[in-house]
Assembly symmetry: C2
Homo-oligomer: 343 residues x 2
Amino acid sequence: MKKRVSLKDIADVVGVSTSLVSYVLNNKGKENRVSEETAKRIREVARELNYQPNQIARSLKSQRSQSIGLIVADISNPFFSNMARTIEDEAHSRNYTVIFGSSDENSTKLKKVLDFLTTRQVDGFIIAPTEGCEETVRELMKNKTPFVLIDRYFESLSANYVIIDNFQASRDAVSHLLEKGYTRVGLVSYRSELIHFRNRVRGYEEALKNAGITPDAKYVKEVSYDTFETEMKKAVRELIFEDKAEAIFFCTNTLAIEGLKQIFGLGRKVPEEIDVVAFDQSIAYDFFEYFIPHISQPIKEIGQEAVRVLLEQINGENEGDARICLKAKLKSHPAPADELKTA
Amino acid sequence: MKKRVSLKDIADVVGVSTSLVSYVLNNKGKENRVSEETAKRIREVARELNYQPNQIARSLKSQRSQSIGLIVADISNPFFSNMARTIEDEAHSRNYTVIFGSSDENSTKLKKVLDFLTTRQVDGFIIAPTEGCEETVRELMKNKTPFVLIDRYFESLSANYVIIDNFQASRDAVSHLLEKGYTRVGLVSYRSELIHFRNRVRGYEEALKNAGITPDAKYVKEVSYDTFETEMKKAVRELIFEDKAEAIFFCTNTLAIEGLKQIFGLGRKVPEEIDVVAFDQSIAYDFFEYFIPHISQPIKEIGQEAVRVLLEQINGENEGDARICLKAKLKSHPAPADELKTA
DNA sequence: TTCAAAAGCTTAAACGTTTAAGCAACTGGG
DNA sequence: CCCAGTTGCTTAAACGTTTAAGCTTTTGAA
């Protein structure tokens, strides 16, 4: 790596001290009584030498790295990579850099990544918390580390978050099924105490009750994150063969994709033999003869709000809590062509 | 943000100089003749105070930020987000952090992101170069900035890269179609001079020639990155209605997805009425009644090799060039269930 | 007993910035 | 023509590390 040009290099060429150069290049020449002549010369030389400020040195002095850490379950999950993209754009436009890490829904890994990025002095975090990471989050609060949770939150902690109304969204999704006249509707979720999953189940139950149906535990299947493929096989089989389910609500995009694979694997037709509604969009939905109705999350808005809330915290503008809950809508018809790009 | 504990804090508690603390915590106590007793005490206090080294300060001193910049076309594209994930894992395991940026296939944006990350003193870059960014890459070489190109490269530049053999892969893909007896095979690619696209077209032509068919320009459709949806519509219609194509080779995952949408939109059956082969995997392929044969890129290997090559360069271990070309294989049958996860 | 070597520490400089404080030379009102 | 105020700069310290160099004190062989 070629030696980068520093303030000192410019100072030497112009024949002044580094302070003057610093003042001028930070547009503080006027208030520090730098003559216009010298200022001009400094700017000239800076351009000639292609000076780029050393953010590391700046950070050391200012105690600000101008970077934020983004920790999600898995950056290769479309939901999170789309989120990452909007966060990137938003952060860059505010002169912040994004460093990312994946937790794999594992609280130990989350802690590890968090520590790793903390060492790098990121100014704050945007975190999709895993199950069982309350202690870690509590520590962040204790240290007054700026952060904002996304996608999930903890009722027991008064932390900032940006989420969607999972209860309402699920209720809408399941109601959409029930309006078709089904009475035996299954649900597949992850086996998790994370509140967003709990709320999705609650929304499902609420929809049933509203339709005069008493929720039955046998229709609620939970699979674990690490082995969901095999468990999904079992769940789908049970729902179809034993419970005679007429429709299934899948609580995430990964679950829906895997569940649909299993349904097709059994040779069942959607929606004639088994109907389906899903949470989150997937590129795959555009291809079924039957459009899969699904909850479409406002990913862009979540990302933008998260960055906004975080930067407010970092800049000390936001002493109260920012608990933002957005609405997610059910999409029951294919998007017009020009909207597909962002799906 | 709570004040972080520094070497000085530990030094004050123990009653020694910061140097000693630094030596001990960097395991250089022995060679600097620190008594085992003092060393022990220092380690104790460091643990008690939960000392975390300040990487910014370290970076300033060492001129190494221990971070790498990853610049791809769009992090929300599954190909790149999967790549990002393997690069993240690989980098973290070697104590490097990953900062990312998207170029949107736009050379001006690429330069902007590159400059932005350069200011942050990243130690090197992994870049998926855009069309027309040769000058920018040349400048990196001139500055001796460590970097490695992925996915694409430039014949005119002797830069390090990790790519796949696009020529061979495309030839295999198209040959697979031709073996079924088709004679009118179309191709849809991006309108781009990037070598990987050129090689995919060359591979297609080679396959035709090998089968005794003279390539005909009318079967080669090119669409532009920014408006490919509308252009795809036109291209697919032309291939089917005017050129009477029996099969189409799509040169990327995004093109295949959009192309298939158009084909289905026209009510055409795959493969009976129009056969298809694609470049890159997509989660969507698992759902067609007919499995879409496609080129499966060794994403994990590309990412790992890229990090390896880059770090060798950063550490000055790699003076010669590292031009790595991996093989990509045609997948013409569904993957067994346990491989789907990484698809 | 002498003193070179070893042991155990400290000092100081450096990395590239920022910024408060200080200094010298000039200006102009009385 | 005196000196307060202004102008235009420099000095120095600080951020948290690393590390070469230096300074005592102790040790032990001759």
